[in-house]
């Protein structure tokens, strides 16, 4: 996983917090009578936002893990509820890669390996573009070698 992902997650979370702050500011300007309470709320939001922006991306970077061996794909994610997923390469049906607009700026990409089960897509997020493309090629190549419909 690319270390740039930390900054991508920070940016994405910051945008979310910015929206909340703007709403609060507008409210503050529109309704001066409740200024004290709104001021306190604004301060609290700032503190929580700062803590979230510092802790969340680094924590997420630490708990997100993935590995691809010749036989299987393995992913790990989650902070409080940890989920580890393993799928044999022979059972992978499709490999998707996608990137959102912000991820584009940071040069990041997500790779998702889908099996025939609705319960088990393996998602690897925050890869840099070359690594992602390489992974997609590698997975596609090994998936094509298997016969049958992987159910």
């Amino acid at each position: 996983m690319s270390p740039v992902a930390v900054w991508y997650w920070t940016t994405r979370a910051a945008i979310g917090w910015l929206v909340i702050l703007v709403v609060e500011l507008i409210w503050l300007l529109a309704d001066p009578r409740a200024a004290v309470w709104l001021g306190v709320g604004l301060g609290a939001t700032l503190v929580v936002a700062a803590a979230h922006l510092v802790v969340m991306p680094r924590w997420r970077y630490r708990v997100h893990r993935w590995e691809v061996t010749p036989v299987a794909v393995y992913t790990q994610a989650g902070w409080f509820h940890q989920e580890r997923r393993i799928a044999p390469i022979s059972r992978i049906q499709t490999v998707d890669s996608e990137r959102g607009p912000i991820e584009q700026i940071f040069g990041l990409m997500n790779v998702t390996a889908n099996t025939a089960s609705a319960a088990g897509p393996l998602r690897i997020s925050g890869l840099d573009r070359e690594a992602a493309q390489q992974l997609v090629d590698q997975l596609t190549a090994s998936t094509q070698q298997t016969q049958g419909d992987a159910t």
């Binding site: 299987a72 393993i86 799928a87 319960a119 088990g120």
Partner: protein
Amino acid sequence: MASRYYGAEWRRLNARMLILLPVQEVLRSLPLLLGLLVAGSSSGSGPEWSLIGAALAIGAGTLRWFTTTYRITSDQVQVRRGLLRRRTLTVLRDRIRTVDVTAHALHRVLGLARVSIGTGRSDRRDGGGLKLDGLSVQEAAQIRDVLLSKPAADTAAVAVDAGTADVELIRWHPAWIAYGPFTLSGIVTVLVAAGFGYRILSAANLNPTRFGPIHALLHDVGRTSPVLVVLTIVALTVVVTIVFSTVGYVLAFWNFRLTRQASGTLHVSRGLVTTRAVTIDENRLRGIEFSEPLLLRAVGGARCIAIATGLRVGRGAERGGSMLLPPAPRMVAVAVAAAILGDAGPIRTQLIGHGPVARRRRYNRVLLVMVPLLTVLLVAWWLGGLPAWPWQVGLAALAAGLPLAADRFHSLGHAVVAGRLVTRSGSLARRRGVLSADGIIGWNLGQSFFQRRSQLVTLTATTAAGRQAYEVQDVGVAEAVRVAELLRPGLLAAFFEEPRPAPTRETAGQL
């Protein structure tokens, strides 16, 4: 005789559908026609409008016959339909998993049947399949045989196969109707009926309380004690539910028959008014779900559901298509499951329990929700404002929740029997899933914060069949790895840094 070729020319639906399609279209637009009648009656021209609507519906139905054609080539099934927006739906024959032949009452009067072709696309809501609504019964059966026959190397082999007799695994017994009331399927019917009635009343702008007898009834109710009223309503609901459940059971499962056909398929046929025949390719069968809902279990009943790829449990058009045995005596269910699996072990075997922490977690689920809620309700009642009945109901729910938690723990269990994962959980809907190792296409290991602290893990076997995921809840990490290794060696252990010694059967799950 099952041959793989059916002739590749475009065909139309059966001509008798010219009678049925307009009727179906009118029935489908009945709510709209009723709405038109009611809405139009205020302007005094309600009947005219709904007549125009009915004429349109009949026209649309007739048109549908002329615009729908289908063909079955050597490698695909195609349906073309639509007048302005011509659509061609194509299903590759390799991908066909199930062929479902249903005939409702109108179909049966005309000797017709509907063929639903299901594919393995479990991620789509419509299953990615297609329907041929309206073929003669013979044609439908013929198409089913054609589509499900294997691409045989030589046709002679097929001919021999088709000649062998089918083996009947189980046939319906009228005594099974006794299990009908315990299926609770009637509740859904009652709710749907109530909802529909309410919508008609509100659409027609009627107020039932102004209606003489109901008005008198409500007037009387106002004077009797509320306890009596509640008891009467409960008793009425119970009786109505029992009646509807039993009727529903008879309608759905009358004349039920499960056969294993020589071509390697399981064949289910059932139904009183609407008959339904489902054929499941045994190559697609990955296991069996043996389910014992609480009420059914109390009277010694159980049912069986197929875990097959392309048959997603309880979904859309294929809803109920995976049923292998309706609620029946437990002994019968065990025998049927054993006959299908070819081994009674997975159903009969003593499961490995999940240890004291799993038990505590079942109780915590109840206590962590109910105790805070009860406290809030009690405080609110104490400080005034809230009436007493919310906390009384809460207390009753807590009292009911504790035995439920005990039963949920009692249900927990897993085993690996002859290359199959057996896992059981649930109380209100206790299910024992039997999933063969080759049906498992991956593992998910989920650990909540609390599970991590007590070294437990929920192991989920993902699969393309049935419920898509079968869980072994709250087992020790080492036991989870052991189970996974037994079923698919070398997959899970490779990702665990420190291999732990495999526990013996006695200590398994006691972590």
